[in-house]
């Protein structure tokens, strides 16, 4: 009951503004054509005043109407009025639901609607995935400096012969060689130096030397190419026979570094330690180049220059 009187009170404030052209139409219908005409001008002014004219309803009117409504039987009946849906409506609705939302023509009547929240969730997920991928690429992936060493890599070929090797082992090694040879490799620079080496020998195994650079060769093995003396060492050191005059005794700590450089995970990628060691090697190479290759101020064959560089 209080709500209906509230509606009535709001109705007392209700007003309708006539259309803007209503005044012009009225003037036309009254025959007023020219506002500059003195007779027509006075009529215009009168009509404008009339436009602003308003009469307020008498004060008793509202309570009277209110009383009439409150006691009106028809309105109270209307309040209780209910309209029932058609009897067959429910069964028809259920039938259509069971049919899968398709109409009589077979067209889909029910469309899939995704709420706006779902779109937001999907967009947020995609953005997070993209950001995560960017972070991984920029920070977690191997350092670019390793690429300088990697660029020089010519994929080494596994040794072909070993003394006293059994046939099965040789076949196994040859199979691996085939898979390695299919990979692309950069051509080595030809040199007519007498000592230009293509191979070095370690524990009766021959390995090609990449760019005549032993350290780059050791850093260039991939997962399937790491030789046994690195992956399964029997001793802490090894000796490299470069040529008939030069056999290098690799120290224990250097052997360890070479082993660490060639550690791989199960997904055939180098471990974090391997990447760190390769990065350290790259730094060494750069320092060596800076010291001995930029000019002839320092001589690596001179013990004084070498000692002052190393220590």
């Amino acid at each position: 009951m209080p709500e209906q009187f509230d509606i009535l009170r709001r109705l007392t404030q209700y007003e309708i503004t006539p259309p803007a052209e209503a005044l012009l139409r009225i003037m036309e219908s009254l025959g007023v054509q020219d506002a500059n005409n003195s007779d027509d001008d006075s009529l215009w002014r009168s009509m404008l005043q009339l436009q602003e004219f308003e009469i307020k309803a008498p004060q008793f009117l509202f309570p009277f109407i209110e009383k009439q409504i409150a006691s009106s039987l028809q309105l109270s009946q209307l309040r209780n009025l209910e309209v029932s849906p058609p009897f067959a409506a429910y069964s028809e609705i259920m039938e259509k639901i069971e049919r899968g939302g398709t109409g009589d023509n077979g067209n889909n009547l029910v469309s899939r609607i995704l709420s706006l929240n779902a779109y937001k969730s999907i967009a947020a997920s995609i953005i997070i995935l993209v950001i995560g991928w960017l972070i991984y690429k920029l920070t977690v992936s191997p350092a670019d400096i390793n690429k300088d060493v990697a660029k020089q890599i010519v994929t080494p070929v596994l040794p072909t012969t070993k003394k006293d090797s059994v046939v099965a082992n040789v076949v196994g090694i040859n199979k691996k060689q085939k898979s390695i040879r299919t990979k692309k490799s950069q051509p080595q620079i030809a040199s007519d130096d007498f000592f230009y080496q293509k191979d070095m020998t370690i524990d009766d195994y021959k390995f090609p030397i990449i760019d005549n650079d032993l350290l780059v060769t050791f850093a260039g093995f991939s997962y399937s190419q790491v030789p046994d003396f690195i992956s399964k060492p029997t001793e802490n050191t090894f000796t490299i026979k470069v040529d008939q005059y030069s056999s290098i005794s690799v120290s224990e700590s250097m052997s360890k570094m070479i082993r660490n450089m060639n550690q791989f995970r199960s997904n055939k990628k180098p471990t974090r330690r391997a990447r760190k060691e390769r990065a350290r090697l790259e730094k060494w190479k750069k320092a060596d180049t800076e010291q001995f290759d930029k000019s002839l101020k320092n001589n690596p064959l001179d013990p004084i220059d070498l000692a002052e560089f190393v220590f």
Binding site: I240, I248, L301
Partner: protein
């Protein structure tokens, strides 16, 4: 014989024995020293490179540790070659008579192989550190590769010094050209060591032979090496900016 007399004879005998022994040894060394050194025209000497340090490893030095330095000499030709994990490098001493090409320095390892052709003047500048070195011969001795060696101390004019052990049993006129640092040493150096506070670098001879040497060993490479102009920077420290000083004497033709 009384005990006191016996003691006297024993003491006298022992004293006399060791005195005679030391005299005889000295005579042996002196006789060897005075014996005319054998001039050998063809020599191949290999040295092992060892870096010693108080630490368990020498860091970047491990890439040089265990390396081999070989000196090849055949009459007037010579080559010094260093082979290590870090790099391979050679110095070719050319035959005399051509002052425009006294030596060739080559870097044989890595992607960027290069070579320098040095004139006689540039060769002197390259080893200017050893100008006016002085040698102090000492009485210390040792035996290396069955060669009796004496110790000498080489002092540079800037105060740095190097300990060497040399044998005068072997001589060759090319030795002073091959190793200008040892120009004042009267013989073949079989071990030399430069000590620093944190460690030392030692080259020790592991073999000496006069076997045949392929002439190709002494031929400076022509292919696969980029020819560079000789220059020595005025200041160059590891990690610092390099200030280049173009060599005013450089008038080299580019081979390639």
């Amino acid at each position: 014989m009384s005990i006191s007399r016996l003691k006297f004879f024993i003491v006298t005998f022992v004293t006399g024995f060791f005195s005679l022994h030391s005299i005889s040894q000295d005579s042996l060394l002196q006789s060897k020293a005075h014996h005319k050194a054998k001039e050998i025209n063809r020599l191949t000497i290999s040295y092992s490179l060892l870096l010693k340090s108080n630490k368990s490893n020498t860091g970047i030095g491990e890439a040089y540790n265990g390396g081999v330095k070989t000196i090849f000499i055949d009459n007037h030709k010579a080559r010094v070659r260093l082979v290590s994990l870090m790099r391979m490098q050679s110095v070719f001493i050319m035959q005399p008579g051509n002052p425009k090409q006294a030596a060739v320095i080559t870097k044989e390892s890595g992607k960027d192989k290069y070579k320098y052709n040095l004139t006689a003047e540039q060769w002197k500048r390259y080893y200017r550190k050893y100008d006016s070195v002085s040698c102090e011969l000492t009485d210390d001795s040792t035996v290396i590769l069955n060669y009796p060696c004496r110790k000498a101390i080489i002092r540079l004019k800037d105060g740095r010094s190097m300990e060497v052990f040399y044998t005068d049993s072997v001589s060759n006129k090319m030795l002073s050209k091959v190793e200008p640092a040892f120009s004042c040493i009267p013989g073949l150096v079989l071990q030399y060591e430069y000590k620093q506070k944190k460690g030392s670098v030692v080259f020790t001879a592991t073999s000496i032979t006069d076997a045949y040497i392929d002439p190709g060993v002494f031929k400076a490479p022509a292919k696969g090496f980029v020819a560079r102009k000789f220059y020595i920077s005025s200041s160059q420290k590891p990690g610092n900016k390099i200030e280049e000083e173009p060599d005013q004497d450089a008038d080299q033709e580019n081979d390639q």
